[in-house]
Symmetry: C7
Subunit: 75 residues, 7 copies
């Protein structure tokens, strides 16, 4: 853990940008990252739920609890 | 985690407003958020359980344990 | 978390009153709340287990471990 | 959490008395409570495993790990 | 928690004696308890895995991770 | 824990190298390790999801939450 | 916990020796233990995955996350 890079940096760089968060139950949420904390709790705006590459529903603003998240990827 | 915004802010802004909380087992509760804590434990008033977009039952006041919650969305 | 209301207040107000606690495995217990702690461990008296709205069995005094509880609702 | 009653009191009152402990996997153990701790780890003596109201096997002395327990009821 | 007896005492008394440990997935291990810690991590020697009362395999020395254990019983 | 070697050393040595991370749900991700922390949260670049030895999709940059990871292997 | 023996001693004695680690999902890994920590995170070298007594694949160096491990046995 020498060179100062930490996993949460990717979230910090993604503020106000589109990210995809995938949950333990397989669901995918794409939205604009507004905030996060060390538990990986996230708040997204203009969020959409996607399933198998297709838009399932629009949610608007959403809080995702960190312990349900498997992966996060900048879009 | 620079600009002062934190995920729990969305809950603070939602006090006394309608929110939807979805649980790990897929159940959805819509109600007026009265209080929350850092574990995401919630208390709602005038709460209703919904399933697939339809009202399933009225519950009134309810305490939801934070570790069962996947997502929270202002309505 | 400004205005002093916390989720556990609903439990404090429910002491010696009837509550319903629902567990992760779907079981429902209705009883008189005698005590609780920050882990949401509960003790009820005159407790009954209900399933789909019907009385399943009378239990008397019961300790419910907090981490198995999904929701609690005053009756 | 005002009046000094705590959930673990029910366990303290049950020392050397018969209790029933039910596990997350549905199994029931009835025995004489000898000791417990804040994790709800229990030791019973003269313990029996019951299934659907019938004696399944006699175990004697047994340690039950707290995080597998759903409920405890004095007999 | 008054009289000084604690659940881990049963493990301390069982050092160098035969115990049975049952895991969350239903598997049973019988062996000579050599050491344990507060997480209920165990080391057994001359351990055997049993299934439905019959010897399944001999393992020799084995470390069992505490959070997979449901119950422990002196043999 | 005497000789100074620790499990996280393998991650430190793997910075900027290709690793494979396998999740609890069986999914495999191969990518260039950019950062990690003590929770085993990882960030990979040029990441690919593989299933049964075949490329399933390219993801680019990805954050994997540590508690979903079973194993990590340098490629 | 009197006589100074602790469960992790078995891991310390197994450094640079062959061990078998079995995961919660039933998978078995055999390899040379290089390092471990108090979370039971392990690093093995010359690791192989086995299923039902047969070699399934060779992995080389592998990090196993402690919370997925059920048991560890020196070979």
């Amino acid at each position: 853990m020498s060179n100062g890079e930490r996993p949460l940096d990717i979230l910090n760089e993604s503020r106000n940008k589109r990210i995809m968060a995938e949950l333990k139950n397989g669901r995918q949420f794409i939205g604009t990252l507004k905030s996060f904390d060390i538990h990986i709790n996230l708040v997204m705006e203009d969020a959409e739920e996607h399933a198998e590459g297709e838009l399932k529903r629009k949610i608007g603003k959403v809080f995702l609890r960190g312990d349900t998240i498997i992966l996060i990827s900048p879009q």
